[in-house]
């Protein structure tokens, strides 16, 4: 049976749009009518923020195969830029209206710095790039600690609680969608080719600098967005919220869920965030249990839950369903001896 690609596309698009809209309505309803308690709402928002962080880091560590360990540094920039804007930049009376602008500004700030971090990635790979990103994370933290204008080590506050469940939902969907689009484009194929064999990629005409620059800019943009949401959820940020431990948390979510997979990132971020909350009654012991879970996972599934595999709804029909591809032209088929 020959499946019609266009029908498949349309059918799937209708379902996806309906599902996403239903999700949004649910988020608005939960918030408006208080369908679940504030604690659960808070956890849901953390899940969303962590999904954004995980998907964006997976682009660099999973898809591109680099090892960036300073993702929290970008998050810090997004958090401080957006918080400064809503507290000091915009008229307080209308700060709710300016919130999306502030979050985007936070993302742009992080993206700008992401560009700077991309430059060493042109020349070094692997362990060396890991050290560069590690240093970057530490630099960001110490710089903030030493700027009195943003509270130095005491942190920064005064933000209104502008991050709501619907906002987190919108940003999560947007970041997953955009990063997924990027992966299934010529740049995304370039990213994968760099992971597989950088020299061969360059020799096959891939502009590896352009690809790396774009990947870092997009990744850090969304880390900044996550930071902006985080700042207006907690209403208090300090440099220690964005130290290496935070970066490690994001790394764990990436490798738990699976490298090179959007579905994996969502799974990893959700399960890690929820698990840590569920295990809260265990007190200190949960910090002993979690690493154990990770070790066991790495033994049985070294590439994470979804490593390099993808939930088919995230894959464009053109890339997933080989039957959707046109058959090669008759006149050229099997021409080679």
């Amino acid at each position: 049976m020959k499946l019609n690609v266009r029908d498949l596309l349309v059918e799937r698009r209708v379902w996806l749009t309906a599902l996403l809209l239903a999700g949004f309505v649910a988020c608005v309803a939960v918030q408006a009518f208080g369908l679940c308690n504030l604690y659960v709402q808070l956890i849901l928002m953390y899940v969303g923020i962590n999904i954004i962080l995980t998907v964006s880091l997976n682009l660099i560590n999973g898809y591109m195969g680099e090892f960036s360990v300073g993702h929290a540094g970008f998050m810090a920039i997004g958090a401080y830029v957006s918080a400064l804007l809503t507290v000091r930049g915009f008229p307080a009376a209308h700060s709710a209206w300016f919130f999306p602008v502030a979050v985007i500004a936070g993302g742009l700030g992080a993206a700008l710095v992401g560009m700077l971090v991309a430059i060493p990635s042109f020349r070094t790979r692997g362990d060396y790039l890991a050290i560069v990103t590690l240093a970057f994370n530490m630099i960001v933290k110490s710089v903030i600690e030493n700027v009195e204008a943003v509270g130095g080590p005491r942190g920064f506050m005064g933000m209104e609680k502008l991050t709501t469940l619907p906002w987190v939902y919108v940003w999560t969907v947007l970041s997953v969608w955009i990063i997924r689009n990027f992966i299934y484009s010529r740049y995304g194929r370039g990213v994968l080719a760099i992971r597989e064999d950088e020299t061969a990629a360059e020799l096959m005409g891939v502009d590896t600098r352009q690809v790396k620059l774009l990947a870092f800019v997009i990744s850090s943009f969304f880390a900044g967005v996550a930071g902006g949401l985080f700042a207006h959820l907690l209403q208090f940020i300090n440099p220690r919220s964005f130290d290496l431990l935070k970066s490690t948390d994001i790394l764990i979510m990436v490798y738990l869920g699976g490298v090179g997979s959007i579905a994996g990132s969502i799974l990893g971020a959700t399960s890690y965030t929820v698990l840590l909350e569920v295990l809260r009654p265990m007190g200190v012991w949960r910090m002993a249990l979690m690493p154990l879970v990770l070790v066991v996972l790495m033994i049985f599934r070294p590439r994470g839950i979804m490593g390099l595999r993808e939930f088919r709804w995230f894959v464009p029909v053109r890339d997933f369903f080989s039957g959707a591809l046109p058959a090669p032209k008759k006149e050229v088929a099997d021409a080679a001896p």
Binding site: L192, E196, L203, M204, G205, L308
Partner: protein
């Protein structure tokens, strides 16, 4: 005017001169062989032409455009493509994606279209997919399009590597030991394939090879390297009887 012209190309790794004063004029449509013992600098030469290394001295020009100093992806865009001595496919990617990656330079959309999948993105992606599948079809690889490249048998991996190299629309194709690991019969097939590709894609080919069956069979001209120095150049017949070549391969003649 020659298609590719190398003049006084020299490359040093620290104190070691890997290629010394190499000169070559490659006319459009030619098929030449580069031979020499292991470590003679053959692959280094390919790396110099394709921009993996930057020549210490000398000039390499394609259609009078200087290649030395350009990054590999720019050189690929100008029309130089290659295969590798030990197959270097993108193993985890599908056969189709291996070819589509190499179409990177032929895609006409920017980052914004890529991030939104809008503004002509689909049309362009469909075009790339169709082009790439046609190419795979020509190479009898269309049935494997959705297969991971690593899952292909050795012979087909070699074939895919040539198809991928052609996806960049090259003028010059550099083949680095294409017959490595092949038996007599497979080499016959490879010879046919190379000659076919040259005609269909209007290629100029330079190949490195140890298999004399292949080199002597199809190359119109042969360049012999030893320790980075060009020790002989000419038609296959002339090369076979050149005393310097025999010496490089078999050692000096000793009076007993």
């Amino acid at each position: 005017m020659p298609l590719l012209e190398a003049e006084h190309v020299t490359h040093r790794f620290g104190g070691l001169t890997a290629v010394a004063d190499f000169n070559l004029r490659l006319e459009s449509g030619e098929l030449i062989g580069i031979i020499g013992p292991n470590g003679a600098g053959k692959t280094t030469l390919f790396n110099l032409i394709t921009g993996v290394y930057r020549a210490s001295e000398g000039s390499i020009r394609l259609n009078d455009r200087e290649l030395v100093g350009r990054p590999p992806n720019r050189i690929a865009a100008l029309g130089v493509s290659r295969t590798f001595q030990n197959i270097r496919l993108f193993k985890e990617l599908t056969v189709l994606d291996n070819v589509r990656v190499a179409r990177y330079g032929a895609v006409r959309y920017g980052p914004l279209q890529a991030l939104t999948h809008a503004g002509g993105f689909s049309t362009e992606e469909d075009r790339i997919a169709r082009d790439s599948l046609d190419l795979l079809g020509m190479f009898k690889l269309a049935d494997y399009a959705a297969e991971r490249a690593a899952n292909l048998p050795y012979g087909l991996q070699r074939r895919l590597e040539i198809a991928r190299a052609l996806a960049t629309n090259p003028k010059i194709l550099l083949l680095d030991e294409p017959a490595a690991g092949m038996n007599h019969q497979e080499i016959e097939g490879l010879i046919e394939l190379i000659l076919w590709a040259r005609d269909v894609f209007k290629l100029t080919i330079a190949l490195i090879e140890h298999q004399m069956q292949l080199v002597m069979g199809i190359c119109e001209r042969i360049v012999v390297l030893d320790f980075g120095v060009t020790i002989a150049a000419g038609r296959p017949k002339e090369i076979q009887n050149d005393p310097k070549v025999l010496e490089a391969y078999l050692g000096e003649k000793v009076e007993v």
